[in-house]
Amino acid sequence: MVNFWIRKVEDLSKEELLEIIDRELKGLVTDKYVPTNNFVVYFAEREKIPAIIEKLMEFSYTRLSVIAGNDERYYMNKLSLTYIIAFDKQDLYIGIRTYLPFYDPVAPSITDMVKAAWWNERENRDLFGIEFSGLKDKRKLVLPEYWPDNVHPWRKDYPYNKPVMDWREGLPDYTPVRETKDVDVIGFGPYHMVNDEPIHWRLYVKGEVIVDAEHRGFHNWRGIEKIAEGRLTYNQIPFIAERICGICGFTHATAYVQAIESLARIDIPDRARYIRSLMLEIERIESHLLWIGIACHILGFDTGFMLSWKTREHIMHLAEVLTGNRKTYGMDIVGGVRRDVLGDRINKAIDTVKKIRAEYKELYNMLINNTILVKRTRGVGVLPREKAISYGVVGPVARGAGLDIDVRKDHPYAAYKELSFNVPVYSEGDVLAITLVRLDEVFESLDLIEQILDKLPKGPIMAEVKEIPANKEAVGVVEAPRGEDIHYVRSGEYNKIQRWRVRAPSYANIPPVREMLIGYRLADAPIIYASVDPCLACTERYLVIDIETGKKTIISDEELKAKSRKLSKTMG
């Protein structure tokens, strides 16, 4: 049966696939429900889950994208789990939902079958108190070690604004799993040279050779989804969603608004779709250039670092001109975009793209022809194809490991149906392959920007939205610079959101880093870890810290400017 599917499933249409799945899952699932046209939910008993997942995983290349837990006691006094599985060739997301009684929230673990469930199950155990029978890894994922065990912050009875304890008290604590008789221990992070954001890798080494590694992250997790579910209305969330990540924020905002639009059946004007793709591509370029600079810096090649960031500066300026801000464009809103691309800005954008392409070509040649750079990255941190599939990695990491997946092609959203581009895929799976994927994608994005500016349709940029329907659900997917960024949204009453699950690409790409590290040297650890372009902000969903308002003083701009200049002088 397996071979049969492996041969056929690539070129099935969506309808054929759906009825095949119906046939396969007959008897296992109890009910079926189609919220949106690319999202199908099956209901099943919790005992059946492993069988269902196994059946679905037998289809050639399916990904377990995310396991979204939910506290539905308000409706049916149950907790629920939704296993969202992606069929990339048919633009389809299958959700398997099971309800767990509140008094014993236990579900069977599928981590042994699908590695991608590893972090998801641990997160649900931490935040919803759902136990997974057969999950060997007993460590906490999200919450700190000293967090009380019976408190689960994402249950609805936990208030969004009252932490049971101060996050800052107590030292960061970690109880390692591996016994260290024959190995030495190296702490890599949270305060390490190459860690822009805090993460702790505990490396077990022989000499400089890494024989094992353990991960402890989520130092900055503050439950941003809880805030959104708690007090914000659906149209304020795009702005907080954009602040999930400083680099790929716009993809989060877009994914969220797409989810809302698809669950509210809103179709947005063409110009808005094109502008969204434009901003997404701009963001992709600046993210990739930033990554290239960081990688060069990690490998001790500061010239490449400076030059790629110099090139990046142009695109930042372009973004500033188009949206009014270098990052966090604040363009997205449910129903469209907020700013139009007017007047001479199009020509300015075209000129900028030309300039960037010229400079980037030179940078590209410089990096590719640098023998030491190639030696440092070739054959390092190899992630074989099978492991890539099992971990469900996305984005450049997957494309470097020979998996031809790209949300822009597979689940076409904003304007990507009308645009033509090709997806670079390399099969080596080492750091060099991933790097090359990113290097090529910059060229593709430049082409895309030119196409978009070329055929930018006329018309309005926003559709009027009053209310959103209650108790609808949808997934919004966007190809972030780091891969598939999926938002599962369930709407609640009074224009609020009942459940919002953000699965950023790094959330899928960081777990396999452990496998990629083993067998390589301490010198390679930074570049291997950086090769997945870890965006911990996305992974851990930060939130802006609450600051109490000060008392009344009014200060003139000149004073403020002088003050800030003086400050930055003393700092710099």
């Binding site: 030292l171 960061p172 604590d173 970690y174 260290t180 030495d184 221990v185 190296i186 702490g187 890599f188 992070g189 949270p190 305060y191 390490h192 805090p198 702790h200 505990r202 080494v205 022989k206 000499g207 400089e208 050779v209 402890r216």
Partner: protein, 684 residues
């Protein structure tokens, strides 16, 4: 009329004799048995240092008779053995308490003294037969000392291996060669033999080959080095420091004196010696780098160091026909390296003994940071280890640089290549020495050990350390060059100044400015930093930086055995291959021969005899013990009883049977030896 020199000589002999006889009074008491012996060996060592100094100052050979005469060259070895012997004897006073349960302290001191005495007398011998005799004594004593811990499996194995090797490669060739020479020339007097042209005679050439094999195997040069890394660690530490510090140099001494000076060494053999030297440098270095056992590491390092010693000597032999001046300078370099190496290698083995003493552990990972039990230990480890690494300003650096410089004096391309190879292998020395030093003096784990090392051990380590410091300031190059020039029979001082501008160092006889600079820096740094350390209130010390998480310090490091993990992985196939070959050649085959051979039967026979004697004597003793006037006899009798019992016990163990044989042989040999010396000396 006995001259002062002769008196000193006899004092040395008598002291050694006392240290062999007096312990018999303390058969029942292990500690007294050991300590009396060692005290007297220490006295003897001091005496022989005095004798060496006397001979060097008067610069005239003391001729005891036509068989024994102490020339300047012999006095060099007297001083070498004396320093090492003094350090090890004083060290052993408390260190030997480790081996109480083995017992036989009196036997230990007899053997120890015999070992030292044989090595003291070897360079003085002017007669080949006596030379071979004392050589055998040295071998036998060393066998017993190596096998001292006869209950340990690896010790037994090492002892047997060593014994087979010495039988096959030392005793048999030496005795055969001596007999052949006797047959040809009718004499074994070395002076007479030197007058004949031995090498021209094909049989003589054979003899030279046999001697060459014997001496290189004793020196532990490359192809015949296999016994060394097993044998040296097996012995008690003060003995293994003697083995590494002194005994292997006896091989070099044999090559220089017997082969080169008297019998004459063919040039081809000199080249072979050179090649062997380079190979042993390489092999010893990489094996030491890969080693995790402290004493084995040091043993391998002495293999490579013996290469550094013999390389200039071999070149000196090659050059001696054409350019005796150059040859003498090279030989001087070799001799100075030998002297300094004996000092720091003795010291290193003594330090490794301290870890056995305080904790019973010897693997580098386990003794990490234990040196901090006493400051003396740390200091001596640093001094000795950095001398081994050849780091300025220490004496090892002086020796190394003198070797390089002296070889560079030769304009031949071979010299250049040899120096280049030696220099490019020097950092390997740094690799393994820093592995030993840094792992033992690591700050990683503060262990609370019950024992602390004794005062006598500290004194025993301070002596060579002080000698090293002195030698690193005052360079004895001129002395060694004179020495070798006397050996080669030429005068150096007249010709040297013409070389001044080529290479400064060899010529500058007394002090070396390069080291002076480092010493100046050291003194300034010590002054400044000590005041800083004392009143430094702004020194913040909050432990190491673990990048944010709490990690136990004893795990949070790279352990010594993983320092050169990649090197180990890369070279293990090669070393494994050689290990297999040696395993087959020198262990499996001989042990099979012995197992089914005669040795076992002899051992059993001895066991039976011993039982009989023992029963009889015990009965005798018990019968007469109740009478007061027989007490003395009882004691005497019981002494003999326990001697025989020990012999029997050793003999009973089939595994150690050959050692038993040699122990018994030794007992008689040592007595014979004493008589010989005293009678040869013309005493009444």
């Amino acid at each position: 009329m006995v001259s002062l020199g002769e008196t000193l000589f006899y004092t040395v002999i008598v002291c050694y004799g006392l240290s062999m006889i007096l312990p018999l009074l303390f058969i029942r008491n292990y500690k007294y048995g050991v300590r009396t012996g060692l005290v007297f060996t220490a006295l003897a060592s001091i005496m022989q240092i005095v004798l060496a100094v006397y001979v060097f100052l008067t610069n005239t050979a003391i001729v005891i008779n036509d068989l024994i005469s102490i020339d300047v060259f012999a006095s060099y070895f007297l001083a070498l053995v004396g320093l090492a012997g003094l350090a090890t004897s004083i060290y052993g006073l408390e260190y030997m308490d480790l081996y109480v349960e083995i017992g036989g302290g009196w036997l230990y001191s007899i053997v120890f003294a015999a070992f030292l005495l044989s090595m003291t007398l070897l360079p003085m011998m002017k007669d080949l037969l006596l030379f071979v005799f004392f050589w055998e004594v040295m071998t036998l004593t060393s066998i017993v000392l190596i096998g001292w811990e006869y209950r340990e499996g690896f010790v037994v194995r090492a002892t047997k291996q060593y014994m087979f090797t010495m039988l096959l490669l030392n005793s048999i060739p030496l005795i055969m060669g001596t007999c052949i020479l006797w047959n040809i020339y009718g004499t074994t007097n070395l002076g007479l033999l030197a007058s004949y042209d031995v090498v021209k005679n094909p049989l003589g050439l054979l003899v030279v080959l046999l001697f060459y094999i014997a001496f290189t195997s004793k020196a532990g040069l490359f192809p015949l080095h296999y016994w060394l890394p097993d044998a040296h660690p097996a012995a008690p530490s003060n003995v293994s420091s003697l083995l590494s510090g002194v005994m292997i140099k006896m091989g070099v001494m044999g090559i220089i004196v017997i082969l080169y000076k008297y019998l004459g060494l063919p040039t081809i053999l000199s080249y072979l010696l050179l090649v062997q030297a380079l190979l042993s440098i390489f092999w010893g270095s990489i094996k030491a780098v890969m080693e995790d056992h402290a004493k084995r590491l040091l043993a391998y390092s002495s293999i490579s160091q013996i290469g550094y010693i013999t390389a200039p000597i071999a070149l000196a032999f090659i050059a001696s026909r054409t350019d005796p001046l150059l040859a003498s300078i090279m030989l001087g370099a070799g001799l100075s390296y030998m002297f300094i190496h004996s000092l720091f290698k003795t010291l290193l083995f003594l330090t490794s003994g301290c870890f056995l003493y305080v904790s019973g552990k010897i693997m580098l990972d386990e003794i990490r940071g234990m040196a901090w039990t006493s400051k003396t230990l740390v200091l001596s480890i640093i001094i000795a280890g950095f001398s081994l690494a050849g780091i300025p300003p220490l004496a090892g650096f002086m020796a190394k640089i003198m070797v390089y410089g002296s070889i560079l004096l030769g304009k031949n391309i071979v010299h250049g290549l040899v120096v280049a190879i030696l220099m490019s292998m020097a950092p390997l020395t740094l690799l393994y020495s820093i592995k030993y030093v840094s792992s033992t003096t690591s700050l990683s784990s503060k262990i609370e050990l019950g024992k602390s090392i004794g005062t006598s051990m500290k004194i025993g380590m301070i002596i060579p350390a002080l000698a090293l410091i002195v030698l690193s300031i005052v360079s004895l190059n001129k002395f060694f060059t004179n020495l070798s020039s006397i050996l080669l029979g030429i005068r150096v001082e007249t010709i040297i100044p013409s070389l001044t501008d080529f290479f400064y160092l060899v010529i500058n006889p007394y002090i070396f400015y390069g080291s002076l600079i480092v010493f100046a820096a050291l003194i300034i740094a010590v002054i400044v930093s000590y005041s800083d350390y004392k009143n430094g209130k702004d020194i913040i010390s909050k432990g190491v930086w673990t990048t944010g998480y709490i990690i136990p310090v004893n795990k949070h490091l790279i352990r010594p055995s993983y320092y050169y993990f990649e090197i180990n992985k890369a070279l293990s196939p090669l070393t494994g291959f050689f290990h297999e070959i040696y395993e087959c050649l020198v262990w499996n085959i001989p042990s099979r021969i012995v197992r089914n051979g005669i040795a076992r039967r002899i051992a059993e026979y001895f066991g039976r005899v011993n039982d009989w004697v023992w029963r009889k004597l015990c009965g005798f003793a018990e019968k007469y013990s109740r009478y007061e006037e027989y007490k003395l006899d009882e004691y005497a009798g019981s002494a003999i009883v326990s001697i025989i019992r020990l012999i029997g016990n050793i003999a009973r163990m089939a595994v150690v049977s050959p050692i038993a044989l040699f122990t018994i042989a030794l007992f008689f040999l040592s007595i014979i030896m004493l008589l010989i010396i005293l009678f040869l000396g013309g005493w009444p």
